[in-house]
């Protein structure tokens, strides 16, 4: 997916300024603080928002979206999966997240994290280009790790995830840092997730340490 020079103005505020970014097959992460324009960028890709300038070229195939906010409709999980009539095979993705036994349960009565996992499984099953807005929020640690692992292994879809969670970005094939509507860096995770760039991104001192062969980010 190639996004060329898009600018988006919402009301008086310039939310995205001349954003150029490329997403590849596999896991792409848009990393940025609150209000940096991550959601706006995702909304442009599904044509919910029209950029004032620039263009977006997307791979052929179905798009899907796991939103940050949604309506907890009072219907079964199965009905939620079938909504939109996409008619895909959901079972493999439900199994990845151990959701097979949820089908008959009432979606509105699930916990925040469970609802989110259902919508993530739905998006993964339906889309060739899969967009996820803050998918880790509301997930417990186990599910956060699980999600990171699963997304890291899917290489035949273009998956674009927005998050402010630095550790999540480590699993990505490609990372774009978004600050105040501008992309300040993009590329392979190892190259982009540096102390300097992250400190600049979040405006707090970020330190990168190695413990037991793992890289951790501390503030």
């Amino acid at each position: 997916m190639l996004i060329s020079a898009i600018s988006v103005k919402l009301g008086d505020r310039l939310v995205l300024r001349e954003v150029n970014v490329e997403f590849v097959r596999g896991l792409n992460v848009i990393l940025g603080p609150n209000g940096s324009g991550k959601t706006t960028l995702l909304r442009c890709i599904i044509e919910m928002l029209k950029p004032q300038t620039g263009k977006i070229e997307v791979e052929a195939g179905e798009k899907s979206y796991a939103p940050a906010e949604y309506f907890g409709a009072e219907m079964s999980v199965l009905d939620v999966l079938l909504s939109g009539d996409s008619r895909r095979e959901y079972t493999p993705y439900l199994e990845l997240f151990s959701l097979q036994s949820f089908l008959e349960r009432n979606f509105s009565s699930l916990s925040t994290g469970e609802k989110r996992m259902v919508l993530i499984a739905k998006a993964l099953a339906e889309g060739d280009v899969v967009l996820m807005d803050e998918p880790t929020s509301g997930l417990d640690l186990k599910n956060q790790v699980k999600l990171r692992e699963v997304l890291g292994t899917i290489k035949h879809k273009v998956i674009v995830v927005s998050t402010h969670d630095v550790s999540f970005a480590q699993a990505a094939d490609r990372v774009a840092l978004l600050k105040c509507g501008r992309v300040i860096a993009q590329g392979e995770a190892e190259r982009v997730l540096t102390e300097d760039l992250l400190t600049q991104l979040y405006e707090v001192r970020v330190r990168r340490v190695h413990v037991d062969g793992k890289t951790l980010f501390l503030t």
Binding site: I46, A66, A73, S83, G84, N106
Partner: protein
């Protein structure tokens, strides 16, 4: 579960049609249903049968309109009455009487009135959505109430004017609260056509309606513009409500009561809400109409009865449902 309820509701529908044919301003003995004779055959053919069929279709339509509006606007308290649609329609229908001043023959009013009712039903719904959209669940209800207030006072002014200028026009006091007493075969045709379109489209589009209810972003990704989609349904709902209002006046709350019951029993997916609301809407309105049309010795407007049923449901949803965020 669904099969049992389909059977149960079908039986209920059958008996409520039977009861509606028997009871009314004139009692028609069951024996006369099987072998109509004399005055009974005239009553049945010209009045009772077409009116009962109309009431059944109206019950179905209003229930389905309510169900679809509740899903698309994410608000379990929406129905054509609460959203102000019916009040706008009533204003439009009344306004059409003023065409008499321009020497429009009284007989043509039957054709013009639904169109003007539709136009104002649409207008009032759009105002409600504009007022309530950005303010969440209660915003739409408040918006609808305000719009209903505006059009009710406009209606009151109009009725006063009409009764002084056109004394031959029958009183509209009852009509404003809904009165399904005499509906002819000709009006039935339009009603059946609209009801059929509404129900078929609702069933066919159920999964898409579900998606739009869950998330705007998910809809866009699927290639559905949720706002355009909502407006398409608002136009259809206004068309149906406008036509119904021009025939029988404002019949309120069927669209709240019926989907609420269905949701409790069969869940809140549109795939269940539309077909089962269609099936339950008819008997509910038929039974309410029996109560309203003379069984207590006098005619009571039908909304007076449906609102008594709806009030506890509204209170329940406000106190429990929304507070729990179950919708």
């Amino acid at each position: 579960m669904k099969k049992t309820w389909t059977l149960l509701l079908s039986v209920l529908l059958f008996f409520s049609i039977l009861a509606a044919l028997i009871f009314g301003e004139v009692y028609v003995p069951p024996s006369a249903l099987l072998h109509p004779h004399g005055v009974y055959s005239v009553i049945l053919e010209r009045i009772r049968i077409p009116t009962v069929l109309a009431a059944a279709a109206i019950g179905t339509s209003l229930a389905v309109c309510g169900a679809v509006m509740q899903m698309l606007l994410r608000n379990p308290l929406m129905d054509p009455y609460v959203s102000g649609t019916a009040s706008g329609g009533a204003f439009g229908a009344l306004l059409s009487y003023f065409l008499l001043a321009f020497n429009l023959p009284f007989a043509y009013l039957v054709y013009v009135s639904p169109l003007i009712a539709f136009a104002f039903a649409l207008l009032s719904t759009l105002i409600t959505i504009a007022v309530g959209r950005r303010t969440g669940v209660y915003g739409l209800v408040v918006g609808g109430v305000v719009v209903a207030f505006i059009f009710s006072s406009a209606v009151t002014i109009l009725t006063t004017l009409i009764s002084t200028r056109f004394p031959f026009v029958p009183s509209v006091t009852f009509w404003l609260q809904g009165q399904i007493v005499v509906v002819g075969w000709r009006s039935d045709l339009g009603l059946f056509a609209l009801t059929a379109i509404l129900v078929l489209l609702g069933v066919k589009q159920a999964r898409r309606i579900d998606l739009v209810a869950i998330s705007d972003e998910m809809s866009y990704a699927r290639g559905i513009n949720p706002n355009t989609y909502r407006y398409m349904w608002v136009v259809l709902v206004s068309l149906v409500s406008g036509y119904i209002v021009s025939l029988v006046g404002i019949v309120g709350f069927v669209g709240i009561i019926v989907p609420h019951i269905v949701r409790r029993i069969l869940g809140g997916s549109t795939t269940a809400l539309v077909p089962y609301s269609a099936l339950l809407g008819s008997p509910l309105l038929l039974l309410a109409n029996i109560l309203s049309s003379g069984i207590f010795g006098t005619v009571i407007p039908v909304t007076a009865i449906t609102s008594l049923v709806a009030a506890p449901i509204i209170v329940y949803v406000m106190v429990r449902g929304i507070a729990d965020k179950r919708y």
